[in-house]
């Protein structure tokens, strides 16, 4: 008979993967689909979690209101992030600047700098310790499914991630906004020439992506019961890896790869020491890239 232990590890891996996927969706929309190098997504995630926490400790509203609050902060943060760290670099439209490598990578540093400032400010305001979330808000009541134990949060996260994924896929492939986003990512100048308001499209993408990041942040805060300024770092790296492994521009690809990462980590814990389990995940990434140099679900490379 199949050892229920492996089933339990598989379930844990899936739930871990879902938490990565939750972060990866918004990240992929901005970084992968819009094709903008953004290193500040982890801080949006943290901001969302802190916004939820502040709301909870201030007024103790129902959980839906907490998430709505986090979404609002996420939208605001995404908007400001775009205005502060990305918009200024679109002032150069001459060909030399567009082709310059330094210009293309400048948002890497501006978003990194913004993320440093945000994280340090959070540390000064809230302190860098873990803050606890009141227990009645936590979404980690155990649920037994056959031989496997999960928690309520796993189902909520699954539901939210699925809704985000389906919603985004619909948005990107079936609506004019989505078409505009893909056009801007493909060729910003061309998009402008055919009458797309590129500025607005980029802002919309940032707002939507950051709302998802903030929602992921507060859900993770409620799931693990701890909120702290550095919480966005590890999921940020995992989301980045999942996005690239999935082929950069494919959101379903990122989600699937996030799940693969989660499962490979939990399964690896069975065979090697927990300290080495990340090694398996990264090894898996390298192998994937060797055999699929454009990611698992990436489009073939286009000529620029």
């Amino acid at each position: 008979m199949f050892d229920p232990y492996y089933l339990q590890q598989l379930a844990i891996g899936l739930s871990l993967g879902m938490t990565y996927a939750l972060m990866a969706i918004g990240f992929t929309l901005i970084f992968g689909v819009l094709n903008v190098v953004n290193f500040a997504h982890g801080e949006i995630y943290t901001l969302g979690a802190f916004a939820g926490l502040v709301l909870i400790s201030a007024t103790a509203p129902p959980i839906v209101a907490v998430i709505l609050g986090a979404l609002a902060i996420g939208a605001l943060a995404g908007f400001s992030l775009e205005r502060i760290a990305f918009k200024p670099f679109r002032r150069f439209t001459d060909e030399a600047s567009l082709k310059s490598r330094a210009m293309r990578e400048s948002t890497l540093l501006s978003s990194l700098a913004v993320s440093i400032v945000v994280r340090e400010a959070l540390e000064i305001v809230f302190g860098s310790q873990m803050r606890s979330v009141p227990f009645e808000y936590l979404i980690n009541t155990p649920v037994r499914v056959g031989p496997v134990i999960l928690v309520t949060g796993d189902f909520i996260i699954f539901g939210v991630a699925a809704a985000m994924l389906i919603g985004l896929q619909y948005l990107l492939t079936r609506t004019r906004v989505g078409l505009a986003i893909r056009a801007v990512s493909n060729n910003p100048l061309g998009a402008k020439y055919v009458g797309i308001d590129t500025d607005r499209t980029i802002i919309t993408t940032f707002v939507v992506g950051s709302m998802m990041g903030a929602a992921a942040g507060i859900l993770m805060g409620l799931y693990y019961g701890a909120v702290f300024p550095a919480m966005g770092f590890t999921p940020g790296i995992k989301a980045f890896v999942a996005m690239v492994m999935g082929g950069l521009s494919s959101i379903p690809g990122a989600v699937i790869c996030a799940l693969i990462l989660g499962i490979s980590e939990s399964m690896a814990t069975t065979f090697v020491s927990s300290g080495w389990s990340d090694m398996v995940a990264y090894g898996f990434l390298i192998l994937t890239l060797i055999f699929f140099p454009n990611g698992l679900f990436g489009a073939r490379r286009e000529r620029v």
């Binding site: 330094a102 913004v114 000064i124 890239l289």
Partner: protein, 350 residues
């Protein structure tokens, strides 16, 4: 290239003037700064000077792969770590001295880089970046978790300071001169590599690798060479750090250090070697200088980084101005060897 040849005067006087800036820099590094340091006689200033120089080397080595060859490298600190661990383990296990460990730390880092590069160098753009991230993290995990060999989180005590063939160089001034000499020689080597036809071939990969490939540039081989060379210099920096502090642990080489080095290269200006040097100096000196601000100093570091990239998006000293500077000041080799007749006899730096 003809523009440069005609722009640069060819008479002996200007050739001598052409060496003014490098001579000034050398004078600053080897005479003025040590004199100043000796005048203050503060271990703190020596420490900062040495640390800044080590990061100048790290930043310059990353410049080669990220700035010139245009490959976003997110795991550079790991090779720095491999170098440091090589020096530390050779010293603590075999009792070897700095003279032997320094070249070996570079070579081992280069060897590791070569091995991991073999399967991954065909990757392009962000796929390459994430592969280097994975490689860096894997090397970090090895340093942390392979307790029997690296002593894991316990770190390694390096009992020997700087020396040259048994002659101790561990006095303050001697240590400074050791670091300064190694770093200066390495930066000159990196400069020769990046301001040459070789550097231009690397730049062609950055600008358009498919086009470069079609023109007969062996992009994969060049990428491997750049990656390995850059790891070599990072390893040398690691060897310097290990012997300088006397104790290393895996925490010194984690992901955030890679990001710090990357930030140095970008702040300074991607593709510009003087920029990489300035970026390293800025990001090492600034946090120390801002100690008076207490808990707010890191916010200030972030703000300065942000302002610098906002005001100077191509870096503090961008590639174009850096190239102009280098070619004007070190331009002898770019000029024709015979009479300046515009026939294009320039030999360039090969």
């Amino acid at each position: 290239m003809n523009a440069f040849e005609t722009a640069a005067p060819a008479d002996g006087l200007s050739r001598r003037r052409g060496l003014l800036v490098p001579a000034l820099i050398l004078l600053l590094v080897f005479a003025a700064l040590p004199a100043l340091l000796a005048g203050f006689d503060k271990g703190y200033f020596y420490q900062i000077a040495n640390l800044a120089l080590i990061f100048v080397l790290l930043s310059a080595s990353m410049h080669l792969v990220t700035g010139v060859a245009g490959l976003l490298h997110l795991g550079h600190a790991a090779f720095y770590g491999v170098g440091a661990y090589t020096a530390a383990l050779l010293t603590s296990k075999l009792g070897l001295g700095f003279t032997v460990t320094l070249p070996l730390s570079g070579l081992v880092a280069a060897l590791v880089a070569f091995l991991v590069a073999l399967p991954t160098m065909r990757l392009v753009s962000i796929y390459f970046a994430v592969a280097t991230l994975a490689i860096g993290q894997m090397l970090y995990l090895v340093m942390l978790n392979w307790v029997d060999f690296t002593k894991g989180p316990n770190g390694v005590i390096v009992s020997k300071g700087f020396e040259l063939f048994g002659v101790s160089l561990s006095g303050r001034l001697a240590a400074y001169y050791t670091v300064a000499t190694v770093v200066t020689l390495s930066v000159i080597a990196i400069g020769r590599l990046s301001h040459s036809y070789y550097g231009n071939a690397l730049r062609s990969i950055r600008e358009d690798d498919q086009c470069a490939d079609a023109m007969g540039v062996s992009t994969v081989r060049l990428k491997m060479e750049a990656f390995t060379l850059s790891a070599f210099f990072a390893g040398v920096a690691g060897g310097l750090w290990a012997h300088m502090t006397g104790y290393i642990s895996p925490g010194d080489f984690k992901f955030s250090e890679s990001i710090l080095i990357l930030a140095m290269v970008v702040v300074g200006g991607l593709g510009s070697l003087p920029g990489a040097v300035i970026g390293a100096l800025l990001l090492i000196l600034l946090p120390e200088g801002l100690r008076a601000l207490g808990d707010f100093r890191n916010i200030m570091v972030g703000l300065v980084m942000f302002l610098s990239i906002l005001l100077l998006p191509k870096g503090l000293l961008g590639e174009v101005s850096a190239l102009r500077l280098v070619r004007q000041q070190l331009g002898a080799a770019w000029r024709t060897t015979g009479p300046a007749n515009g026939k294009g006899e320039g030999i360039g730096w090969r």
